[in-house]
Amino acid sequence: MTGCSHAVSGSRVLSTISESNGLASFTQRDISGMEHALPQHAVEIARPFGFPITNSMLVTWIVAACLLVFAQTATRQMQQVPTGAQNLLEWLVEGLYRFLETLLGRHLVDRTFWYFASVFIFILTANWFGLIPGVGSIGWGHEVGGHFVVDRPLLRGANADVNLTLAMALVFFVCWIVWAVGENGVGGFFAELFAPKGESKGVMRLLLVVVFFAAGCLELISIFFRPVSLSFRLYGNIFAGETMLDTMARMPYIGWLVQVPFYFLELLVGLVQAMVFTLLTAVFTLLICQPHHEKGTTT
């Protein structure tokens, strides 16, 4: 239920952004006019008991349910030498663990692996789910100039909705604070941000205190901007990909052919963006939780 409240408040954020945005109004005009374009926000498809459900939320739940069912069935009968689904899952989880271990170090990865692995697997599955034919092309619509136009698709790529990406970024923001305070302590957390590093004495020390305090203030701004950039990066990439596929498919006569290479590009983008989100959050965590006690383990 908390995820849903994120989604609702996030939707208000998006609507204020798109109202104040020239690009959005440009797209809106296109929809009402003759040209058809993908809407920037997820479309509401049902409202049971006054609770709005958008097509992106539906895809989010489907993807989450698929992952849950897959994980359960793959690990129901565990074998010493894994085959099939269990093998795939072990390969995925072990690969992620090794990769994150080289980046974060043993101590930190044990503490934070649950978040990074879940987020990677979820984003990857959601991105690739959005590429299945039928997502975005089956739904409610109307007749325009002799052919049928879908303007309320039943399904829409989960990350093509800024509410989901913002929710994931905000969850990371809270986790980041919890991990940072847990690793450094409250005092150490603020020292990590504002206190001068390195050895110095006298006037030099005083100067460095001022400099590092100013740098800490700048750092604070960039930290508060992280959820925005994380969520917009993922949303922008996936939404742009869907728009591109949509545009290519609308090309007369050869639309079915020209979109094929772009589907492969989108497969790649889906993987890269899942990795970028995981990597960036992992590096942000590493930056604040630098392991001082175990030197040379974070190569």
Binding site: N21, G22, S229, F232, R233, G236, V272, V276, L279, L280
Partner: protein, 62 residues
């Protein structure tokens, strides 16, 4: 034809930046193939920061 100049300029700059990062990254991996995982991490991070500029202009600038 209508559009926004700032988005075009940001995309222009980001494309150059991504190209430079990719060129240098493949250069380095060519010299030292063993470092490919580390270089990939660094270059993906840098590319992500470079392309973030486009999203800022897309969504935040009027």
């Amino acid at each position: 034809m209508t559009g926004n100049l700032h988005v075009g300029l940001a995309a222009f700059g980001a494309a150059i930046a991504v190209g430079l990062i990719g060129a240098r990254a493949s250069d380095v991996v060519g010299r030292n193939p063993g470092s490919s995982t580390q270089v990939m991490v660094q270059s993906i991070l840098s590319i992500a920061f470079a392309e973030a500029i486009v999203f800022y202009t897309l969504f935040l600038v009027r």
